[in-house]
């Protein structure tokens, strides 16, 4: 019988903290009962970083199928991309090809059933853009690799305390009233409800939809969008049988009693839902991409170049990302009879 496949973890930007937290996460494998994973990238980066940090982590290059067996005694690495020359904190011309090759290979492996899910370490958009990368970000690139036509990805920030989805993400706040359309809310909510049901195993997901304006517009007296855009979207979703409620005043939506009434909150804009997510689960929040044909999670932070190689990078979010990817992909596997 073939050994069970493991999670594919991209190394991300090699000059960032990806290698640091990958090593640190592997060291907690017993204590935190981590699922088996293999890193994808240049094994030499991990060896050098382990030495620099004084970590006793054996790094072993292997095939994806060997990773689960290797995992107990060494950090399995599936090679991808060029030999990296970038030093911690200092990306160079090997950074972008290395980061990109790891993503390409991770998606190919998960599509071929040779990995259970994709977990990604942070990449540097600036470094990739300078190398000619033509996608807005990590998530859009993964969607592009996932299939044709590219599925519409939805970003969820998940923690046991709170799951949130910003309907608009990295855009100026001044553009949000224009960008927040009925269609956007409906599409975001549909994908969210679908994945909460099929990946998270929530039979009838309850969605709370935040109002755009203070007090959700107070019946139109504090802005009309909540009545003209959000409320019709919620009604359309309810007609489809999705348990959506809203527009709800965002400032009374995040205390414990309110959180107990929904499975995920969809915000009108980034800070409306990222602020409570960080307040409730600062270093344990995980970024999950919904809407893809495979499970993808990542830690909810950036490359933190200044911390790379210092030993001060916190692996908590990556550890939670690995655990969640395992949980979600186990359900995927059970459904597809793998």
């Amino acid at each position: 019988m073939a050994p069970p496949p493991a999670l594919a973890l991209t190394l991300g930007e090699p000059a960032g903290i990806g290698p640091d937290i990958t090593l640190a996460a592997w060291l907690t494998r017993q204590q935190r009962s981590l699922p088996a994973f293999f890193a994808i990238g240049d094994a030499a980066v991990l060896r050098r970083r382990a030495a620099a940090l004084g970590l006793d982590v054996p790094v072993r290059a292997c095939a994806p199928e060997e990773a689960a067996a290797v995992f107990a005694s060494a950090l399995p690495v599936v090679s991808a991309g060029p030999a990296v020359t970038a030093a911690p904190g200092h990306p160079d011309e090997t950074s972008a090809p290395s980061a990109r090759a790891a993503i390409d290979d991770a998606v190919a492996l998960v599509k071929a059933g040779r990995a259970t899910a994709v977990v990604t370490n942070p990449i540097s958009k600036a470094v990739l853009y300078a190398d000619g990368f033509a996608f807005p970000g990590h998530t859009e690139y993964l969607a592009h690799l996932a299939g044709t036509p590219a599925p519409r990805p939805v970003m969820m920030i998940w923690s046991p305390e709170l799951a949130v989805i910003p309907a608009t993400i990295h855009v100026p706040l001044a553009d949000v009233p224009r960008l927040l359309t009925r269609e956007l809310i409906i599409e975001t909510a549909r994908i969210t409800a679908h994945d909460l049901r099929h990946r998270f195993g929530i039979e009838a997901p309850r969605l709370a939809i935040c109002g755009l304006n203070p007090h959700a517009g107070e019946e139109g007296t504090l802005g009309r969008e909540d009545e003209e855009v959000t409320r019709p979207a919620v009604e359309a979703l309810r007609q489809e049988g999705i348990d959506a409620r809203g527009p709800l005043p965002a400032d009374t939506l995040f205390h414990a009693a309110a959180r107990a009434t929904y499975d995920a909150a969809i915000g009108a804009y980034h800070d409306q839902v990222l602020a409570p997510a960080k307040a409730l689960a600062f270093d344990r929040a995980v970024n999950v991409t919904l809407g893809l044909p495979f499970v993808r999670t990542s830690p909810d932070h950036g490359t933190a170049f200044a911390l790379a190689g210092t030993g001060r990078a916190d692996p908590s979010s990556l550890i939670e990302a690995l655990r969640l990817a395992h949980r979600l992909s186990a359900r995927d596997a059970a459904r597809s009879g793998r």
């Binding site: 990295h170 855009v171 001044a174 203070p214 995040f254 409306q272 997510a277």
Partner: protein, 342 residues
């Protein structure tokens, strides 16, 4: 050093359909303010009687025609009985425009006494904004009503205070679109000056104020919006030059965490939900709301009328007590400053 007279605070029982009356009765019954303020109730004695029944306390109310007529050496709790609100007419726990109107009328009388110099501040139990609005006090919030009644022309705003931290906003109860228009170099400078001045008046020598950014990730160097570059940072720098200990702008999804950890005394938000989401999660509803910038001190517990527990005598009075103490502190400093200037 001469001892200054204790400030006189008017205490109003708030909307009689909510927990205000029972909170007011319990607060008066427990007392404990003798060394910080002289308190006179302004309201309807029948409302106070009802509150005392709900709270299970007895009050020895002594009626006077106005706060100026109170004999502070006499025993009992001084009260100006307006005789305007019969609580039996209003079901408990249900917002009612008529009781909203009367709540506003009572506050307006307290403000009249303040204008006449008979009280130094007003501390009010929870009111219902909607009921007041529907009852004819057509203001989006009570702070705008107070400013109107005081004929106040300068800047003012509400601040939310909890355990020594003071939270405020550049814009308040307006649509997000309107808020985006109202966030300007001048409005940010004005809000910073107001916050700094209000906190100094409360005895914080050099308030450290963090300014929240408007855009996600603080605009990420202009990638998602340029307001931070165009005028938020310039405003913060201009105010820092004036001597205000302000810093920022900081991404708003983490700035409150820094402040709550003790790095700042205050955070200035750009818009309503930005401030309210963070402060409500932190439990600022256990705190105090103060109207900053007005000649008269106004404080109130930050929580609402709590319709679900009205009449049960279980309403906590911690926030209300904090509101009285804060009003007393600010009013006392004002009396000292006035005496020093004289």
């Amino acid at each position: 050093m001469t001892a200054h007279p204790l400030p006189i605070l008017a205490l109003t029982p708030g909307d009689c359909t909510g927990i205000g009356p029972e909170q007011t009765a319990r607060l008066l019954s427990e007392g404990g303010f003798d060394d910080v303020a002289r308190i006179v109730v302004v309201g309807d004695a029948r409302v106070l009687d009802m509150g005392a029944r709900h709270a299970g306390v007895r009050l020895n109310l002594v009626r006077y025609a106005s706060p100026g007529a109170v004999d502070w050496s006499a025993p009992g709790i001084p009260m100006v009985d307006l005789g305007n609100t019969d609580p039996d007419l209003f079901p408990l726990g249900v917002a009612n425009p008529e009781s909203g109107r009367l709540t506003g009328d009572t506050l307006a009388r307290a403000i009249d006494f303040a204008k006449a110099g008979e009280v130094d501040g007003v501390c009010f139990a929870p009111l219902n904004k909607q009921a007041m609005f529907r009852g004819g006090w057509r203001f989006p919030d009570e702070h705008k009503m107070f400013a109107h009644l005081l004929d106040h022309k300068g800047p003012f705003s509400e601040m939310n205070v909890l355990e020594g931290q003071w939270m405020t906003r550049v814009t308040s109860h307006v649509s997000l679109r309107t808020a985006l228009d109202q966030v300007t170099f001048d409005s940010i400078c004005g809000a910073l000056r107001l916050a700094d001045e209000t906190m100094r008046k409360a005895g914080i020598a050099r308030p450290r104020i963090a300014v929240a950014a408007l855009n996600p990730h603080g605009g990420e160097g202009g990638l998602f919006g340029s307001e931070e570059i165009d005028f938020i940072r310039p405003a913060v720098e201009a105010m820092a030059k004036e001597g205000i200990a302000c810093e920022g702008p900081f991404p708003s999804d983490t700035v409150y965490l820094k402040a709550f950890a003790g790095a700042y005394d205050s955070v200035l938000a750009m818009y309503h939900d930005q401030g309210q989401i963070a402060t409500k999660l932190k439990g600022f509803n256990k705190g105090v709301t103060i109207t900053a910038g007005l000649e008269v001190v106004f404080t109130t517990p930050a929580h609402g009328t709590a319709f679900d527990i009205v009449g049960k005598g279980v309403a906590d009075i911690g926030a209300f007590q904090s509101a009285v103490r804060l009003a007393a502190r600010v009013a006392a400093r004002k009396i000292e400053a006035r005496a020093a200037a004289a």
